[in-house]
């Protein structure tokens, strides 16, 4: 589709300013260039597409009006939050930045959900939940990142062992201005307690929809009770296969509220304080991923145990017994504190205060990541395959951080593995991107692994045919997230 022309831009800008207020619409050059490459930050690897306007809605009505005007003029529009996002912008289009819509609208401690606007960050909600006896999932992105940005990408969060997603209910605006809710709150005077009603589950259409099917203006997300007692249990393993068997055994017996498998590069580096960057990090940068130092387990499994005090004590003993069964070694909190203090600080914040560690987040900032879901036995092979492939890039992409954890009680396992090449080394990063594509093909064909992020519509077959039909019905002018994300480069 052709990019919007200059006269069209002027008309849309004028109408938007008249409709929602001039102060919410910016078209100055500096604003436009700083929004020209929002996908994963200003990454030279991604195409630069300068928008014509950036709109900052403050109410749902602002969003409705913006969409109606954009639709009338067939003007492309991309909705964004804060933090990295998995979508590209459209040259000459509108960016709808909902960061000013950041109210926590309801905390329902009877049912266990919070209703939030799209601009609410993890930090904002975790703060709001203090003292309520409830906690929310903490993402793998820094605290100021928006919850919905991650949840809508079906990101991995801290209680997903039992749930696939934190979303219960979404309020959506379509390009023609129609507003609807996807779950129980669609009915007058009904709360957001139930994702599924008498109709098909439309929230699913919007998770990993990357804004292509409608703009989200409100969401209800799961929150969880803080129990009488909780404890983080640690067990070290010398290989991933044993770690997988261990977590499967625990989750099949309903022991942990959440459990993570970390490789040694990651459990040592993700929660690093700035001062650790000069002590811990240099050793990691020089190390070989498959060879942890003597006494440092290749994998560490952290399990959040919670419930009544007596229950947690029993769970602890069970964890120790199961760890032994799979050749693991239990690490006491004291030992963890002594040997891996940054790691402990991270866990204390994540599972004690229930918020994200204010660290050097992800140790080196921009990363290149490869993410798949697979059945447990397949994932054991995938881990070996992925680590081998990452090793071939050499130490220059250290640390090679991965975490892995069961979703939906272990029916599916996630592996997210990342390296950290120099962000300005576009040649190396180009090679890595090419390799990742090849790896996705191998993982899909040989190991039956499903990618977690869109990897090109060609691989999606009839699934994409159906999605395109839905997209055409909801967004006939193809204004929403036209370029990149769910679909490729404006295709419909």
């Amino acid at each position: 589709m052709a990019k919007p022309n200059r006269d069209g831009r002027k008309t849309v800008c004028r109408e938007l300013r008249e409709s929602i207020g001039a102060e919410k619409v910016r078209d100055d050059e500096i604003t436009l260039v700083t929004y020209g490459r929002v996908r994963h930050g200003f990454d030279f690897m991604w195409p630069f597409r300068k928008p014509s306007l950036v709109v900052f809605p403050e109410t749902r009505e602002d969003v409705v009006e913006t969409l109606k005007i954009a639709n009338r003029y067939k003007f492309p529009i991309t909705s964004v939050g804060t933090a990295p996002i998995m979508l590209g912008t459209t040259e000459g289009g509108i960016i709808l930045d909902q960061r000013r819509r950041d109210r926590v609208m309801e905390i329902n401690t009877d049912s266990g959900y919070a209703v939030i606007e799209p601009g609410v960050s993890f930090d904002k909600l975790t703060s709001a939940l203090r003292g309520t006896g409830f906690k929310c999932s903490v993402g793998t992105m820094p605290g100021p990142g928006t919850i919905l940005g991650q949840a809508l990408g079906r990101g991995s969060q801290s209680f997903t062992t039992r749930y696939l997603n934190v979303i219960l209910d979404l309020e959506v605006v379509l390009p023609n201005g129609t507003v609807f809710s996807t779950g129980s709150s669609h009915f007058d005077n009904v709360g957001s307690h139930l994702r599924y009603g008498p109709y098909p589950d439309l929230a699913g259409l919007y998770t990993c929809g990357y804004g292509a099917m409608g703009v989200i203006t409100k969401a209800a997300i799961r929150i969880h009770p803080v129990n009488e007692a909780s404890k983080i249990h640690f067990a070290g393993f010398n290989n991933y296969s044993d770690a997988i068997d261990y977590v499967k055994d625990l989750i099949n017996n309903n022991i942990p509220e959440h459990t993570f498998i970390w490789n040694w590069h990651m459990y040592l580096t993700w929660p690093l304080a700035p001062s650790d960057m000069e002590t811990v990090m240099p050793q990691i940068l020089e190390s070989e991923i498959k060879k942890p130092p003597e006494g440092t387990p290749y994998n560490m499994v952290s399990s959040l145990l919670s419930g009544y005090k007596e229950q947690v004590e029993v769970y602890e003993n069970i964890c120790a017994k199961v760890a032994q069964k799979y050749h693991g070694r239990v690490f006491s909190e004291e030992e963890m504190e002594k040997r891996f203090p940054a790691t402990m600080a991270g866990f204390r914040q994540q599972y004690g205060d229930f918020h994200y560690r204010e660290s050097v987040h992800w140790s080196k900032g921009r990363f290149v990541g490869w993410y798949v879901f697979a059945e447990p036995k397949d994932m054991k092979e995938i881990e070996k395959f992925a680590v081998n492939e990452f090793e071939k890039f050499g130490k220059t992409i250290n640390p090679v951080n991965y975490y892995s954890h069961p979703f939906d009680f272990g029916r599916s396992i996630l592996l997210r593995i990342s390296g950290f090449p120099d962000p300005s080394d576009t040649e190396l990063r180009g090679k890595i991107a090419k390799k990742f594509n090849e790896m996705y093909d191998v993982a899909l064909k040989k190991y039956r692994a499903v990618p977690i992020r869109p990897i090109g519509s060609k691989r999606a077959g009839t699934y994409m045919v159906v999605l395109r039909s839905i997209k055409k019905a909801l967004d006939p002018n193809n204004i929403l997230n036209r370029d990149s994300g769910l679909f490729e480069e404006g295709e419909l």
């Binding site: 604003t31 260039v33 700083t34 930050g41 200003f42 990295p84 960050s121 960057m277 205060d353």
Partner: protein, 385 residues
């Protein structure tokens, strides 16, 4: 940051930004907005990350340097909230913070002749004409305490602010009350802090060198600074830009006063009850991490009750004085007004600060009858001892 650093040198570290707004908010769980420009215009553009993206866009030739770039670069309040909260940028080579990169942007704009109208332009013209931006003024130390052999050297700053004269005079009276021998170091000209902050780097190096030539003979003494901007610059930046720099013992005047109260050399008078709120100046607080000494001093004064503003210590909100760009209309004054609103919410009678820039900017937006509600810590202590 070395003065030879270029935008290209910071490209890799700037592109580590994850666009997660860490640079704008204070620490959990309060998560107050601390970045003045972001508070005024909540948008990615108007955040530390936005500045980094602009640098990257300039390097990628997506935009050219022009007057707007300069106005934008000079609109940052230089409050360091970004660097206090984002650990990502400064932990990687060349180990510079977000504010350093913004200063670099200013420096590049100035090199190309783009300087914002108003104070910045006046300053630039003066520096171009005279090679200096200072009005070196010595303190009038009474004979009974003035001694060249004294271990304590008061760093007498050049006065860029309206408030500086009154503060300096109050400092001298306090030194007299304390009674210990002191000498003074009167700058050759500007120590370089202001020039560094605003990107006038060509003129900065000779000034810093000249100052250090004079200072190094006294380096075993204890330097006491009145202005936190000078102290922060000398202590943290001289080592980066002067090859022969060696560290000096240094104290802020608030620390010097706290010691004087503790040793009994300074005593509070009996005085009426007063409720005060203390504003942490950015360079004293986030810059030098001096949070306790001013509060200790206030607690040593009879009848003084300290009530904290919502944003305090490392989560303090800037006064807006160092905003010299015109990209966001009224940003400097609106920032000061926002802080005063927070002060008023405490119910305190007086707003105490410890930086002449803060005092000036708060007084600018206070209605006439309320201007006396803003005091520098030194003046306040002088009035109650």
């Amino acid at each position: 940051m070395k003065l030879a650093t270029t935008l290209k040198d910071v490209q890799a570290t700037a592109s580590r930004c994850l666009r997660d707004a860490r640079c704008t908010y204070g620490s959990w769980p309060e998560n107050h907005i601390l970045c003045p420009i972001y508070w005024h215009e909540p948008s990615f553009t108007f955040s530390g990350g936005g500045y980094l993206f602009l640098v990257l866009a300039l390097l990628d030739k997506k935009i050219d340097f022009n007057q707007s770039t300069a106005d934008f670069a000079f609109s940052c309040a230089s409050c360091m909230a970004c660097d206090s909260n984002c650990n990502l940028i400064r932990c990687h080579a060349p180990y510079v913070g977000i504010l350093d990169i913004i200063r670099l942007l200013r420096g590049e704009a100035v090199k190309r002749g783009f300087v914002p109208e108003g104070t910045a332009k006046k300053m630039y013209d003066k520096v171009k004409k005279t090679g200096d931006y200072g009005q070196a003024s010595s303190l009038k130390l009474p004979d009974k305490i003035s001694s060249d052999k004294a271990d304590t050297v008061v760093f007498a700053e050049c006065a860029h602010t309206k408030a500086q004269k009154d503060i300096s005079e109050a400092a001298v009276r306090l030194l007299e009350k304390i009674g210990s021998p002191v000498s003074q170091f009167a700058e050759k000209g500007c120590c370089g802090s202001t020039l560094y902050d605003f990107g006038f780097w060509e003129q900065l190096e000779p000034l810093a060198k000249a100052n250090w030539e004079k200072m190094k003979g006294l380096k075993d003494k204890n330097f006491v600074f009145i202005n936190p901007h000078c102290q922060e610059f000398v202590v943290k930046r001289y080592p980066e830009i002067l090859p022969d720099y060696s560290s000096i013992n240094n104290q802020h005047f608030s620390q010097f006063l706290a010691d004087a109260f503790k040793s009994g050399k300074l005593k509070s008078q009996k005085a009426d009850k007063v409720k005060v709120s203390y504003h942490d100046p950015c360079y004293l607080g986030r810059g030098l991490k001096i949070y306790d000494a001013p509060r200790e001093v206030l607690s040593s004064l009879d009848g003084v009750e300290l009530v904290e503003m919502q944003r305090n210590r490392e989560n303090s909100f800037c006064c807006g004085a160092r905003v010299l760009g015109n990209y966001v209309p009224n940003l400097s004054k609106d920032t000061a007004r926002e802080r005063i609103k927070e002060f008023k919410a405490t119910g305190a009678d007086l707003l105490i600060t410890a930086c002449a820039y803060c005092k000036d900017n708060f007084q600018k937006v206070m209605p006439g009858k309320d201007k006396t509600k803003v005091k520098d810590l030194i003046e306040f202590v002088d009035g109650r001892t």
